[in-house]
Structures are given as C-alpha cells and as structure tokens.
Subunit: 149 residues, 2 copies
DNA sequence: TTACAACTTCAAGTCGACTTGAGGTCAAGG
DNA sequence: CCTTGACCTCAAGTCGACTTGAAGTTGTAA
C-alpha cells in the first residue's frame, strides 16, 4: 500500500510516517515509481508507535522496543528496564490521579492545605526529591488532550 | 527565601522557577532589592509541578490543577476529567508494560509475530478493517489529528 | 494524451519547556 | 570603598516530534 493508504488506516499523518521511516522505526518495502510502498504489517508497527506516543514515550524509546529491522536486537534486559521505567511512571501517574480524585471531591478550598491530599501526594516527605532533574522525559505534543476533554 | 534557596530545596533550576512564575504556576511574595522572595509553601507547589512533569503532564495541565492564586478556580469537573485522562494514560502504559514484560521473556525473535504479544497489545483487531476500496477522499489538511489509539 | 491528485525531497517553521548568554543591579563582606 | 557573586531582564538557542511550504515528479482516470 502507499503512504496515503497507510496514513488512512493508521491514523498517522503521511509526514509523520515519513518521519518514522527516516528515524528507522518503520520501513517501506520499496517504491512504486517514487512512491513508497508498505507491507501490511507496518500497520501494527505504527499502531504500536501511536500507542507508545500517546502513553508519553519518546520515539527513541519506542524504537528500542521495536524489532523493526527484523534483525536481532531483542535486548531482553533493555526491554525489562523499559518495563520498570514505565512501571515507575505508572506509579507517579497513579499518585496524581488519586490526588486529583480527592481534590475533586474535597471541600478544602486549597488542596495543598488538605492533609489528605498532602498524604496522597506524599508532600510531607519532600526531602526525597533532592535528585534534581526528573529524567528528561519529554512529552508528546499535547494537542489532543489539552482542551475540552 | 530567595530563588537560589528554593532551587536548592526543590531541585528545580532557578531559570525553571522564573519560568514557572512567569507562567503563573507559582508566585513570589515580593522582592528584596530586585531579588524574588518566596514563601515556604511554594516548595509544595514546585514539588507538585515536578511530580506532574515527571509523569508527563504539561505545565498548562498542571496549572489547571493548581489553586495557586488562592482564588477559587477549583473546577471539580476539570479535576475529575483530568483524573480520567490520566487513568486512560495509565491503562495505555500498563498495556505497554505487559507487552514489554512478555517480550522480554518470550522466545519469538519478532514479538510482533508472537500471538501472546499481539493479544496483550490488542493488535489483532487491526486485521478486520482492511482494504474495501475506500471512496476517493482527500485529506491533506491538518488532518484533524487522530491523536491515536 | 492530458490533467491532476497524490506523491516526492528539502528547508524552514512551530510548540512546549526550558537553558544559555549578554549585559546590568545590588547587598554584604573584607 | 570595592569586590564579588547571586541575582536581574531579555533575546536567542535547543530538543523532540512533527508540520508546512515550495518546487518538482508521476500513476491513473477521463
């Protein structure tokens, strides 16, 4: 299939697909004239990329998980490490979610003053944060999730 | 305390703190000469910002949760919506984590070929929707953004 | 055969979240 | 009094992930 079809079926923009290819996350099987042709299984790869991106992973991170070249590279340790890192992120998000759920229900006008909120967020133990720089985890362009929601 | 002290205690760079202030996420209580002075409770706010950032939230998103101005704005619906959005992100991350954990243990050289991996990632559903010769629809505009998954 | 929509490349622009650098101010200590 | 260094402002730079635009090519339907 050509890039337009892949775009339609995957939901990713053609420019994004070219970008992924340039980065080595997907591969075209050849050209028809000058047009890229893709095998159907690329759809799965793009789905994976999209999922990863929407979960906040960088393309580099996703690339490390993808065995796209077909060749080897299945670094199990890396995979396990990534899983752990994601687990960590899940814990942080869970913390925030709980804090938010409470804040949405709480009567205190300023939730930073609410002891329950503070406990949920672990703000009493702020000494722990010393390790400046929370991993350079850059986020996907917020686009969708910003408004309305 | 001045910005250097806040930076030291919070782990955030002074430039980041100025940036947060400019964005309205924190406030200085005044100046000593030309130097910003901060109240201790700003530490909590910065801790919250740091936590949110490391979980992948944008500053705007975090700002909406923060009642920093002291004044009202506790939009419970917004808070609940944010909690839901975060829940969604947690689910995606959980999916990925499970996929990764399996891939790290699996023998298949290409996990996209592994049925268990595919099931974990929910990639099987893709198959169904394919090529039914879609009507010639053009879509070269900003594509409305799939925002994926 | 021709029109044209869909593709191509490449360069530059955008956005969020900061960082870096230049040039300037000022409070405190020697 | 003078130095120092932590602060100040403002502009510009950086990075990731794309998007946009210009200019050119081509498969295919009419």
């Amino acid at each position: 299939m050509d890039i337009g079809e892949l775009a339609r079926q995957s939901g990713a923009a053609p420019s994004a697909l070219r970008f992924y290819e340039e980065k080595g996350l997907i591969r075209s099987s050849g050209r028809h004239g000058l047009r890229r042709q893709y095998e159907p299984e690329v759809l799965d790869q793009v789905a994976l990329i999209t999922l990863g991106r929407s979960a906040g992973l960088t393309l580099d991170e996703i690339g490390q998980m993808l065995t796209v070249g077909g060749r080897a590279k299945v670094d199990r340790q890396l995979l396990a490490d990534r899983a752990d890192a994601i687990d960590d992120q899940i814990r942080k998000l869970t913390t925030i979610r709980e804090g938010l759920r409470h804040a949405a229900a709480c009567q205190a006008p300023d939730h930073l003053a609410c002891p329950k909120f503070r406990r949920l967020m672990g703000l009493a133990v702020r000494k722990a944060i010393v390790t400046a720089r929370p991993s350079p985890r850059r986020q996907l362009r917020p686009s969708g999730r910003g408004s309305g929601a």
